[in-house]
């Protein structure tokens, strides 16, 4: 029997040694909520993530909005590279809910909302200073407002995630609910945010006002838009730069005309860099710096657009109409072939291959001025104030000033849309401007596209509908 005793002893010893505490999972290289979200520094890193997504971190995330706004409105066209079929759908109005740009823009802004919600859910902590709580809360509200306003512009009413603990399967809110949420978030931000942003890239009062102003304008709340624009003007912080091209110069980033920009840095390659030029210029384009490189795709402006500027208009400085091929040494003519290049993001010396660090301007002071002019015209136009404001922008550009005489409300409206086209080409404004002016579909049809009314909104990504049975697609898709 002694063998049995030995063996049971051995067996039970081993069994006991292998105790179940060993199944506790220890996390070494990731952070637990309990030690991350309880310090100001920890929570700030989550806020940083919300900003990163609000700045559209990623490659496609940056270029998709430009192409969604520009290609669909006929402002630019593109060819080459594996992106060609993606563009072709935008140019031809054949996009559908599987179009990759919709998914990437949808996801990046909602990721920002997720992280803003985490910040808001964890602010109630006695270890945090009041000033930290107040500022951080206001920034989180701004971030939610900016993300929702942007998405609303493309997709219409949205599922509202107001808290981290919301059921992941949210249905779309009504139009009314979506709008009031956007307004509420931005208004909260405006009331608390300081005039000076804590850092360039974070929100200030002016930033929140500018996003709110554009939201009011796009939703045709003219009075509110005009007032918000005036509030920005009254801040006295912003002004037009004397030279149009200086606005876009790499060394002028963060100039006083930029109210809200998405800051970029090529050193972070695809995460924080942007590859817009890589999709504009061809491989044989004489790139000024050795470290610039481009993809196979090109983005072009049409001759009609390039030729529409007044000869004196300096805004053509950001258009390249010809170049000398590095491959053949021959001059390649863009103008005359509908192949001029928009040059809003000049090649910069610190870029890493295709990844450049030029910030993406979203709302410039010029936009606020023209928004006020448009709102005033809609309220009681044409007015001299509108004309004066427009002329501020035209004068800077060296274009002939307008005069009130000869404008009706309708013709001034058209003139403002035209002015915006010259001022903001390839700045992701044109589709929303055409939609607001009710000409987006008409102009596409005039270009021979099979454009239908429902194309004024983009479809909700198909995978989103597949994952959430409570979500409904925009009509027509």
């Amino acid at each position: 029997m002694k063998y049995y005793k030995i063996l049971f002893f051995v067996f039970f010893t081993l069994t006991f040694l292998a105790c179940e505490d060993r199944l506790e999972e220890e996390v070494f290289s990731q952070l637990a909520p309990s030690n991350l979200l309880t310090t100001e520094k920890g929570l700030t890193t989550v806020l940083n993530a919300s900003y990163s997504y609000a700045h559209r971190s990623g490659a496609e995330e940056v270029w998709a909005p430009l192409h969604m706004e520009s290609m669909t409105a006929g402002e630019t066209w593109g060819a080459g590279g594996s992106i060609e079929s993606v563009w072709q759908a935008q140019i031809d109005f054949t996009w559908d809910s599987n179009h990759p740009h919709f998914f990437s823009t949808w996801r990046v802004h909602f990721n920002s909302i997720r992280d803003a919600n985490i910040v808001l859910a964890n602010l109630d902590n006695e270890n945090f200073s009041e000033s930290f709580k107040q500022l951080t809360e206001a920034e989180a509200h701004f971030l939610r407002g900016w993300n929702y306003a942007t998405l609303y512009n493309w997709y219409g009413s949205l599922p509202l995630y107001r808290s981290s603990s919301d059921n992941p399967l949210q249905p779309r809110a009504t139009e009314e609910e979506t709008r009031s949420f956007i307004e509420q978030e931005l208004t909260l931000a405006v009331s608390v945010l300081p005039n000076q942003a804590p850092a360039f890239g974070r929100a200030s009062k002016g930033t929140a006002l500018a996003v709110l102003c554009k939201y009011y304008l796009n939703t045709k709340q003219w009075q509110e838009a005009a007032e918000a624009a005036q509030d920005i003007i009254d801040l006295g912080q912003y002004s037009l730069l004397p030279s149009y091209s200086d606005v876009f110069a790499f060394e002028n980033e963060g100039n006083q005309e930029i109210i809200w920009a998405l800051p970029k840095d090529g050193a972070g390659t695809a995460t924080t860099g942007q590859a817009l030029n890589a999709l504009i210029f061809p491989p044989d384009f004489p790139k000024p710096f050795l470290n610039n490189s481009v993809f196979a795709a090109r983005t072009y402006l049409s001759d009609d657009f390039v030729n529409s500027f007044e000869v004196t208009d300096t805004r053509t400085s950001q258009i390249i109409t010809e170049y000398t091929s590095t491959a053949t040494g021959n001059l390649v003519l863009g103008l005359g072939n509908d192949q001029s290049f928009p040059n809003k993001f000049p090649f910069e010396p610190t870029s890493v291959g295709p990844w450049a660090g030029n910030d993406i301007p979203v709302i410039r002071y010029a936009d606020i001025l023209l928004s006020r002019a448009e709102a005033l015209n809609e309220i009681s136009g044409p007015t001299q104030e509108s004309i004066d404001i427009i002329n501020q922008v035209r004068n800077r550009a060296g274009a002939t000033p307008l005069s009130l005489g000869g404008f009706t409300k309708d013709t001034l409206r058209s003139a403002i849309l035209q002015e915006r086209g010259w001022e903001f080409y390839f700045e992701a404004k044109v589709r929303e401007d055409q939609v607001r002016h009710g000409v987006f579909i008409l102009r596409a049809q005039a270009r021979g596209k099979n454009a239908q009314d429902h194309h004024a909104l983009f479809p909700i990504p198909q995978v989103e509908l597949d994952a959430n049975p409570d979500l409904t697609q925009n009509p027509g898709y």
Partner: protein, 1134 residues
Amino acid sequence: MNYLIRRPLFWNKINSRYVIYTIMRTFLLFITIGLSTSYANVSYSQTKLDIEVKEVSLETLFQKIQNNSDYIFFYKDDLLFNHKKVTLKVREATLMNILDEVLKDRGLTYVIDDRQVVIFETSPVAVLVDIGKSQDFTIEGTVLDQFGTPLPGANILEKGTTNGTQTDFDGNYSITVGGSDATLVISYIGYTTKEIPVAGQSTINITLEESTAGLDEVVVVGYGTQKKSDLTGAVTSLAQDDLNPGANASVDQLMLGRAAGVQITQASSAPGGGLAIRIRGASSLNASNEPLYVIDGFPIDNSPNLGSGGVAEVGDNQSPRNPLNALNPADIKSIEILKDASATAIYGSRGANGVILITTKKGREGHINITYDAYAGVQSAAKKIDVLDTSQYIDIINALSVDQGNGEVFSTGDISAIGNGTDWQNKVFRSAPITSHNLSASGGSEKTTYYASFNYFNQDGIVENSGIKRYTGRINIDSKIGKKAQIGLNFNTSLVKDNNNTDGINTNEEAGPIYSSLLYDPTEPIFNPDGTFSQSANLTVNNPVTLINGISSNSETNRTFGSAFLNYNFTGELSGKFNFGTDRQTSRRDIYNNTQTIRGSAAGGIANINSLERTNYLFEYTMTYNKEFNENHVLTLLGGTTFQKFSTRFLSGNISGFPTDVIGTNNLGLGDTNNDQLNSGKEENTLLSYLGRVNYNIFDKFLITASIRADGSSRFGENNKWGYFPSFAFGWKLEKEDFIPEAFNQLKLRASWGQTGNQEIGNFASQLTFGTGPNVVLGGALQGSVIPQRIANPDLKWETTEQFNVGLDFGLLDGRLKGTLDYFTKNSRDLLFNLPLPVASGFGSVLSNVGKVKNSGFEVLLSSTNVSTDNFSWKTSLNFSFINNEVVDLGRIESIVTGNIQATGNTAIIREGEPLAAYYGYVVTGLFQEGDDIANSAQPTAQPGFPIFEDRNGDGAINPLDQTIIGSPLPDFTYGFHNSISWKNLQLDFFFQGQSGVDLININLIESLYPANFRRNRIAETVLDRWTPQNPDAKWPSSVNPNAYGASKVNTMTVQDASYLRLKNVQLNYNVPVDNIDFLSALRIYVTGQNLFTITDYIGFDPDANSLGRSNVRVDYSSYPLARTFILGLTANF
């Protein structure tokens, strides 16, 4: 019952039938074919025994000796009756001392043969010996195994008589037979018995072959071994003869096509490339579908090694190098593939995908045997893709350009300047050498046996700048300590140096040389006039030759694994085994993308170093109780506990902006530190298990097996740490029944049911944690961020697979025709599924136990000896399997699209009622012709020559609702067909393998039909037979503005039938007669051809490739071409 019943071996002096009465005391785990063989007379003769008995029968005495030693007694059943009782007290006596003492004056004598002691009456022997002496023809010789190792203790019998002898320690024998026309019967346990006519020869050397056919073959099962005839589970056992010959870098390549129900896909044909193995289909959506590998009882970590790229702006081959490359295929003795739940449930939470048990070679008692095997060969691409040659390219580009409304691209002057252009595939592919040297030594003494080997393997890839070099060493030692304990050690160490091929699913300037060789402009030169690499101004694809020279990606992996055990026999019936194993690997990969490439040039050179350490250790204690109550009831119980802990650490650094390319990755600090990226991580997980099994054999007719394993894993939610995995099986040896015709020498019906689990998900999957988020630019500086990694799921638990199996094993005509049939259904539920969430919630999915997948199938294995004569034999074996895979349930969602490929989009769908990851896209019904009413079609903007997409929902438009299932990545039917023909010293083996009813999406074809750049080259067929007004019956669309075709690139033009039949290998062996060479005991010369031809309609390098590696989604995108290999080798035994 788990011991071998032996036949008496010493026939020459025994002329009556004996009942064998034996109990073997060696614990089951040590019994493999090699170890269970008998030994020369001297081996146990020094065993010292202490015996004290008083007035006991001889039978009791012998039993007592058996219980205290390794001896086994044989005697005629009535022999010991009527003998007086024995009283004996001896210490430190040998068996001979004892037997001499007790048998004297009883008319009995004995012969000790190794462990076997035969007791017989004295008188008849004299008669036999007399007869033997009356004629006088003596034959001498040596008995060897197929590797030339002498077989000590083999039996040589004169046919039709009881005259016989055994080989000595060196395998030599000498026998005197009745006449020069006698026939010798040579037998050895575990080997096929041979009959050889003496035909007047006085020297006969005999080579025996290991029997894979023996019905009483012992197979390795989970935590033990079992007689094959007693198996109740579905187990495929592959011995060396059943494995693929030739140059195989890893063990799984040895099995490819050889086992029914085991689909092995060489995901990448790069040297040492990864494989995907599906045993009885794919059942898991997001957890791994790979089987568990157990090497000599130690479950290893088979996680993928470091990838080949994906950093440094270099293409990432999604099929990382095979972690099993650390194991030398020449060390493998046998492979057992456990398929049904009865066999796998003992591995519990890791058994759902099947278990592959690998047994390495062990030493055998006897003189040292040295084997040297060397081969060398050459490989070339089995197939090239037929792209446009230079003149075709010029013509097509000009024609397409005109058709697109532009002028001709190439003028007559250009054409004459271009000349022959460049065949880029020829610049990228090469004829590549392969070499292997394998040296092994084995042998042993009475107490200790050993096997040791060293292998050097060097395979250059058929794509320039790729290859593998491997050095492995192994030592296996088994030793007895005293009478009751055995210890053993299996130790394997390896150094693998990979020169990685950097192809994969990346595109454009991040893609590798295979991709660019298919797309790069054939009118371009390799070099500029100044000798630097040229780069087309029209393409953002690197010159393929630049890629070969400009990117280096080298890995070094050191992996050492092994196990040590101590086995202790508490009593004759009860033993315990303590097993300790560990597996430690460190890998480091260096990538440098130099300034000659497009990205490398822009970044000033990019360097990346990635290092990975993976370790795990195992503690295991098992006990076995083996009891034969009487001959009708045999019971084996197994119980145990095991604990295994895994850990992983990694460190990676990436930097660009170097002053020069010379330093490569040797000094990252030379790069621009503004552009550096650092990353590291550490993870651990733990498995704690209890296991038990009962085997009960009734009347040697009914076999019952039941097992259970309880597994606790750190990976699961707080509420579900433990899982329980039972199984039950029943076998019925029908051949023992009277109603079964005599022709069946085996007919066994098996049925099993059981549950197994799957825990192969990442760590922390049940917890909410925060990890590194994207950087953000604030105040002009980069700042870090953290983001939530997932939604916590404290209820996360095992995936459970419930499998039912019914099988039949049969043998007919003395085993000349044998077969195994199995039918199974495998229902997996509570799948570890990344249940999609709307990304608006901030999370793409939550890992949940949702959904059901069903696999069912039928497997057949047949083997037959068609011809068997003295000089000629022909054997055939055939395996095939049908597997039907269906996603049964996905919880609250109906489907999920998946398999995203850059610039193509999602390629596959997981949808209820359909096969897992079926291709999902549009149906092309034809091409628009001139005169068609296009304006009123569903594609109003189409042009003649555009594909017509089927408007499946009839809504008058082509939109995502028109997508449907357009192909299955899972074959309906897979098969393998092997023939072995021998004639005298020659042996020819050839093996065909194939699959049918399977599709594959061809992304390279998509690149041709929808070129990302007009100036890219194309697969010739797609443009040579394109639609034009003059060629309205064309197979392919017009290629004019293909991006305006609409719908998606995933359509019935680009998802192709991937059925194939392949002559996988042919081997011709010649056994060189070495009788006159003293130092050689055997010499074999062989020639092997691999992948000699493939019959398929698929346009691509290999219909079996998967550029997504082990993923359920199968995609062919610049996959590494299959190599056709010819090798010449020799095996010498000393």
